[in-house]
Symmetry: C2
Subunit: 198 residues, 2 copies
């Protein structure tokens, strides 16, 4: 098969946030969908290497802030290019707090929703969480950002290199000719299938 | 909560197809996401009232044709506005056939992928299918259609009515002042949350 067809699936981009006894954290995801309307349920697939993943496994609660076309590259860098295992992403970061006590992002977003996890499915590299939507509010009338829009209008162009691979999710550059098939982006934790040649 | 925030989730639009011993069938879905890259797995959420849903429950096989911005309203009407329980949607309809024997749509699409169901989760109104991606090919370089693009550029404007509700998915009009909260669109099987006032 031609794996590049997978890039034709349309996605939005979201900041997934959680909070445990210690601190709050957030990461960028593209895998959110409403799976039933009555009652209102969503699924998200989250890479197990993300700290936010572990927090949700424990607390069963999360918020999703829906990124808009006004989101700047800084938001993607802040939540996607560094790990909550090393830094406190909400230390001084302006954010609202949902009724569930979990932060949501007010700038560069057009809404947020809150989820209570009902069940999870172990997918190997990721966990699929099924959740009831317990709250949600509109934050602006800006268009939701799509992955395609992010690629074309928000992501900063990588420095030109003679060889290597670039992560289509976060822009991380792997400066080698051959990308191992099991390579995981150290920044956003996406796999080799999300890389393209420079 | 403000339920309208759910409309800010970004989706593509797809023709989901299946084949059993009797015939082939297809319907329109918006719920496709790649959940792991290694191995390549996707999830789809399918309304139980769709004939295609029952075929997949039995055969465990499906194709997904990725609709592009070149898709005409006729494709949405053909696969979304009528039920395979009443008509044979592939009788005379031009289509390709995947290695799995299931048809895919060649016009108005930019690619297709084939799925083998691994497991399913009962979500009440819908079933969530988890599947291995076993095949996939690019069919054109046209942009994938998003739900937002469909709303703005493809969907035919409904006739003006003094009152009523219109399905944001397929355009079906419910000509009454009050839309029951458990209402299911008779055409595309989406729930009341997908309707908006005329």
């Amino acid at each position: 098969m031609d794996n590049s067809v997978m890039f034709k699936i349309s996605y939005g981009l979201y900041v997934l946030t959680a909070r445990d006894d210690e601190k709050a954290n957030g990461c960028i995801i593209n895998t959110l969908q409403q799976v039933t309307a009555t009652p209102n349920k969503v699924t998200i697939a989250v890479n197990k290497t993300n700290l936010t993943h572990d927090m949700i496994m424990t607390t069963k609660k999360f918020n999703i802030s829906i990124l808009s076309e006004k989101a700047t590259f800084d938001i993607f860098k802040h939540f996607g290019f560094q790990s909550g295992k090393n830094v406190d992403k909400f230390d001084g970061y302006p954010a609202g707090t949902g009724k569930n006590g979990v932060p949501y992002i007010k700038k560069g977003t057009n809404g947020f929703l809150s989820g209570d996890v009902i069940s999870s499915v172990d997918l190997g590299t990721h966990t699929l969480f099924l959740a009831n939507v317990t709250d949600g509010e509109n934050l602006s009338n800006d268009n939701s950002v799509t992955y395609d829009y992010y690629q074309k209008h928000i992501k900063e162009a990588p420095q030109k290199k003679s060889k290597g691979w670039v992560c289509r999710i976060c822009g991380y550059i792997y400066e080698n000719e051959n990308l191992p098939p099991d390579f995981i982006c150290p920044i956003c934790k996406h796999g080799a299938a999300d890389f393209e040649r420079l």
